[in-house]
Amino acid sequence: MKILCLIRQVPDAEAKVKAALGKVDLDGATMALDGMDEYGVEQALRINEGGANTVAVALGNTRFEDAIRRSLAMGLERAVHIETDLLLDVVSQAQILKAVVLEEAPDLVFVGGQHADTDSQALGAALAEALGWNQITWTTELTLADGIAKATHDTDDGKESLELALPAIITTQQGLNEPRYPTLPNIMKAKKKEIRKTTPEQYGITNSKVRIVSQEIQERPRLNKLLDGKDPVTAANELIRLLHEEAKVI
């Protein structure tokens, strides 16, 4: 079975995000392989042990190469990097990625359930539509046999188990597996693995359908009235009083 993993490089979840002049400033921010994408990489490596026929696909700027190397160090076989500084909308991304998927002809494509920079959940579904494939979003369990995928995924009010024929898009999240840490020998090996470079222009995409007008950090000022709980009854009474009289929420 051939498997593609779409991966992205995003600011580390714990990193402080800065914005200046209406634009997020990522200079100096710690960047990492999106945690949501790691579940897909791990799942691919569990299906194809040893990493044969597993390919990382990344659409983004030069810095994405770190995330690509990380996925290769986890064990993926090789990578395709569609390198661009353009910030493309999801429909344009899907059009480019469709072409790459058709070149690679996989049975399965993993996509992170939500991206930690755009907060978008759309890429998996958009790519599935561009290819005319089915999708399973927010997958927590996956088994494959005879070209059929059985999966459990989260819905708005619970869970659902689905069965569908491959090829398909699977979007991943926490709960699917425990992603591995790359070992030092594998980090060394990853440095020699192939990264095929291409550009959006080669697929006829030169601009985005959506324009970012501004990016602001809107932090709500917090009161930070913290009580010492050494005397639980006094602290509890005071907290209830504050919520009733000051915040007026109870």
């Binding site: 979840a13 759309a122 024929a165 009235k225 509890a236 907290l239």
Partner: protein
Amino acid sequence: MILVVCEFDTKLKKSALEILGAAQRLEDSVTAVLLGTGAGGVALQAAQYASQVLVCEDALLVGAKNMAQAVSDLSEQAEATLVLMAGSRGGREIAPRVAVRLDAPYLEDATVLTNIEGGLQIQHYAYLARVTETLEAIAPIVVCSVKPNTQVVAEANSSAGEIFEVKLELTASGVTVLGRTVEKTSRVALTEASLVVTGGRGLGSPENFALIESLADVLGAGVGATRAAVDAGWRPYGEQVGQTGKTVQPNAYIAVGVSGAVQHLSGMGKSKNIVAINKDAEAPIFKVADYGIIGDLHAIMPALIEAAKKLRD
């Protein structure tokens, strides 16, 4: 004309009333779309808020692929300039497919929607809800999903809209549903609650969630849980708040034994008041708290429940 794809069970869901409200404020001409089994049963309700209602109960209307085909076909037939969908999990797996089919810009999870010449401008959250982004798309048709609980619900029009039954040409999607689990709660729905009490791993055991439930019942609050508590099997998934669970924005969010990981904050950080109870004074949750008690929750929670009861009585 705005095409509004409405979620429903036996009546319109709150998400549907919210996006109908958003549509009414953007434009006079609103078409409500009801797709799937039971659609006919909510048509009269939808007609109060829209100039026309399109209804289709085709049994093949299951799965994101077929739903997306239905929405894009209807929006082309109706010559819509904007397609609005709920930013629910279900809505957000269909909406991108609609945008691809229409080769249209997709604006996702909008909190604010504004008309601009030839298109739409929205605000939404990015970077795990740490950043507010303003986006705009100018195109003959735009697809937009709308974040739940961000819009004032629709008001009934002076005259009811016309109801039309429509036929669609669908083929089997190839997805079979093997089973469904719906998690029910007797309490107020988490996303609609004005007060939420949430427990985390700091509670130490599933039994200790009784403390959370007692306080919630005294206050009439919804009950939430962190990813860690859900993953440990202590609580059902439906109670999960955070990046991979529900997003809530109540008047007060009371976090008990919750450390405050970024992924959790992205689901509740916009709450009007944040209250934290944790023994670790360094827990990140205190950095975003309006009120809090630093101490042992096992001692504090019973006292808090008593104090809340006294206030109520």
